[in-house]
């Protein structure tokens, strides 16, 4: 009995030690040794106790809370995917405000400037104004060419950056699919290890914690549904497709081109396209096919309309030497936009005049300058400037929304994590107290061994 008692208290010390060692381990659930009274020995004077046994080591977990955390991971992952994609898109668009500080009294008077297309666009129209004011001035024409080239280059950069952004979102989906496949394999393997460990009874607590962690990580990538299978295994479904059943990975994920280089996710063997409802993969897909696609479309329409409208007015005009018929811009969208090279080489060819014989006429340049305030049917009856700022605001709204959602999800995650921690987390004071009580019980049990030993010695001494 004394030996068993020593062993029991030692188990208690070990479990407390294990908890203490894992105080900072992510996903760890504290364990408790379950000590029960040993079977008694019936005697003529009544039942005689035989001490205590450590019957099991149990995890303190809340299964419901774990499920909630998984679902939360999934929606948190979705919005984080969107947030990250949209943040990069906002950077690609590069429309930010710069302020020269002059903090005076209550309100600051700043010389606010912006970095992107907005300034370039208004710059183009004022450059047309300059040519209209001095149609014969070569320097005004050179300034116009410089401004138009600068605008075209900014359009090119934005167009290219947005295309790069699309490519990088596609590779992010591919990376996520790779990670998800690794996690699916881990789950199947952990299912097997847990079944093996629990075959002889008991619970494989640490392995179950590890599996919970892996399921959480998978939930961040995609919304999953889980069910308990044979021998304590967890089966995983994504988009209605069974991917892990028992110890086996039934199918893996892969990306496929849904047209135009836009990658979506399907099962590798079955080839079934998956409708993902949460997680970073769907967040990225939605950001790519939603906000980014709309943004690219708006920027390209803006560039195309600007090219068409400017050319339509410029082409019938006349240069300083009476030349006519040249386009001002070439290209069809943001990425391909450029200024007609012959005008760059010789700015006097800019067709600012409305008459072949009147080189000082400014009617074409004036019409081009007045495009600034003309509403365009291709741009929902907005002016070029307003259409662009609306595009910036739309992207801003989408990211603002994503930021708020991420903040909300983070708050929920924090609350759930605190709740989980209050059930499953390790408290040092608590474990130290337990450790001391097991230590004292161990000492007392050792005292029992000593007492029995002394009693035995006393008995043996009677022989002499």
């Amino acid at each position: 009995m004394a030996a068993r008692s020593l062993q029991t208290q030692q188990t208690g010390v070990e479990v407390s030690g294990h908890n203490l060692a894992n105080v900072n381990t992510a996903g760890y659930s504290r364990q408790r040794v379950d000590i029960q009274t040993s079977p008694f020995i019936p005697t003529s004077i009544g039942a005689e106790g035989t001490g205590a046994n450590a019957v099991s080591i149990q995890q303190l977990i809340s299964a419901g809370l774990n499920g909630q955390i998984q679902r939360q991971f999934s929606s948190g992952g979705y919005w984080e995917g969107q947030q990250s994609a949209l943040q990069n898109t906002q950077n690609a668009l590069n429309e930010f405000l710069n302020g020269g500080t002059s903090a005076s009294s209550s309100t600051s008077t700043t010389s606010t400037t912006s970095t992107g297309l907005a300034t370039q666009l208004s710059g183009l129209f004022t450059a047309f104004q300059s040519v209209a004011t001095s149609p014969g001035s070569i320097s005004a024409r050179q300034a116009l060419i410089g401004q138009a080239q600068s605008l075209a280059t900014t359009f090119n950069q934005v167009g290219t950056q947005l295309n790069t952004q699309r490519t990088s979102l596609n590779s992010s989906i591919t990376d996520d699919v790779g990670s998800a496949n690794n996690l699916l394999a881990s789950i199947a393997s952990l299912n097997k290890q847990i079944a093996d460990a629990e075959f002889r009874g008991g619970t494989a607590n640490d392995l179950r914690d590890a599996r919970e962690q892996v399921l959480g990580n998978l939930s961040k990538l995609s919304n999953i549904t889980t069910s308990t299978g044979v021998n304590g295994s967890v089966d995983v479904n994504i988009g209605g497709q069974s991917l892990v059943s028992g110890y086996k990975v039934m199918d893996t994920l892969q990306t496929y081109d849904a047209g135009g280089g836009n990658l979506l996710v399907q099962t590798a063997t079955g080839g079934v396209p998956l409708t993902l409802t949460g997680g970073s993969m769907q967040g990225t897909i939605d950001a790519r096919d939603g906000t980014l696609a709309t943004l690219q479309n708006s920027i390209n329409t803006l560039a195309a309309t600007l090219i068409t409208q400017v050319n339509a007015i410029h082409s019938p005009g006349f240069g300083l030497n009476g030349t006519t018929g040249a386009d001002f811009f070439s290209g069809t969208d943001a990425a391909s936009m450029s200024v007609n090279q012959s005008l760059v080489d010789n700015p006097s060819l800019i067709q600012a005049s409305g008459s072949a014989t009147a080189s000082g006429d400014n009617s074409v340049a004036l019409s081009l300058a007045q495009l600034a305030s003309a509403s365009q049917s291709a741009l929902n009856n907005q002016t070029f400037g307003n259409s662009y700022t609306q595009t910036v605001a739309d992207l801003g709204n989408a990211l603002y929304d994503a930021n708020n959602q991420v903040a909300n999800q983070t708050a929920v995650a924090k609350m759930l994590s605190t709740q989980r921690s209050s059930v499953s987390g390790v408290n040092l004071d608590e474990e130290m107290t337990n450790l001391m009580s097991y230590q004292q019980a161990y000492a007392a049990s050792a005292e029992l061994v000593k007492t029995v030993n002394q009693m035995l010695q006393t008995l043996l001494a009677l022989k002499n």
Partner: protein, 314 residues
């Protein structure tokens, strides 16, 4: 609620991170003077600011256009004043020469002066804009000298031909508002801006009238001088005065537009500042609050973290 050691650490880290982020944002606002810099911070205000900035850029350019037009209008006015002096002198000479008591020698002397007047007028007619180098009175065909003077063997001006056209450029001084200060040298079309020297509507034809006067003086045709030339110079004078008053009215209009543009530009600045500028007093107070909270979190956190049951057991 049961609070665990890990949860406590995690929560402290989260709090410190949040307070650091808040300080970072507020410090950025103080140093840039802007309440936000990206569209995602405040989408509506960002759109508003960018639209206002475009308005400000256009306004600045309109102010530049107005200044250019005023300079050109002043140059034109100076020429008009000189022409007026010539026109007045020509009228005086016509009155003097129509007097039959004047001898032919007197008239020849007058003719010599008229010859100079014609030369002066032709020189003024080919005045260039100092800023752009374009001819002021060539209409929109302003690249070449608009008036070509033909002389005979005696250096007498026999004709002045107009090479320009009757169109004038319009320049925008506000959204959709255009103004022209130019005067074409001649306008025989009967529409558009009045020609300065020749105009079919008013009947003005300054050079022809001067040349005819010069010829009449040399031939001693006092009848024609009295009957025709004096009346012709009156028509030219009226046409000139019309252009002078028109120029004055345009300058007044441009000055009004310049004041409006300047006010508008200031109010746009204020609007941009209101839309995107940070309220400094509020921002600095908030920054102080955030700093205080950060210090408090650090102090309380570090004190609590040092304590556990381990401090009391041997």
């Amino acid at each position: 609620m049961r609070v665990t050691s890990h949860a406590f650490n995690e929560s402290l880290i989260n709090q410190l991170n949040a307070l650091t982020a808040r300080q970072y944002n507020l410090q950025n606002q103080v140093s840039s003077g802007l309440r936000f810099s990206a569209a995602s911070d405040d989408p509506a205000a960002m759109k508003n600011t960018l639209d206002l900035q475009a308005g400000k850029a256009a306004q600045t350019h309109y102010s530049g256009n107005i200044a250019t037009l005023l300079t050109r209008a002043t140059s034109i006015y100076n020429v008009l004043q000189s022409l007026h002096t010539i026109s007045t002198r020509a009228g005086e000479l016509a009155t003097l020469a129509s007097d039959d008591t004047k001898s032919q020698t007197d008239r020849d002397n007058y003719a010599g002066e008229v010859k100079q007047l014609i030369q002066q007028a032709a020189q003024l007619a080919n005045t260039k804009d100092a800023a752009t180098g374009q001819y002021l009175f060539g209409g929109t065909a302003s690249g070449a000298a608009p008036f070509v003077v033909t002389k005979d063997a005696n250096d007498n001006v026999t004709g002045v031909t107009y090479q320009g056209n009757s169109s004038v450029n319009k320049i925008e001084i506000a959204d959709g508002v255009t103004v022209s200060v130019d005067i074409p040298g001649a306008n025989a079309s009967g529409s558009g801006a009045n020609g300065l020297f020749t105009d079919s509507r008013s009947g003005a034809d300054f050079f022809s009238h001067l040349i005819s006067f010069q010829n009449n003086l040399e031939s001693g045709n006092t009848t024609a001088i009295a009957a025709t030339d004096t009346a012709n110079f009156q028509i030219d004078e009226n046409n000139l005065l019309y252009n002078i008053s028109n120029n004055g009215a345009t300058q007044t209009r441009l000055n009004t537009a310049a004041t409006f543009a300047s006010n508008n530009s200031q109010s746009l600045d204020t609007m941009i500042s209101n839309a995107s500028g940070a309220d400094m007093v509020q921002t600095i107070v908030q920054l102080n609050q955030a700093q205080t909270a950060y210090q408090a979190a650090l102090q309380s956190g570090s004190k609590i973290m040092q304590l556990s049951l381990l401090n009391y057991i041997q």
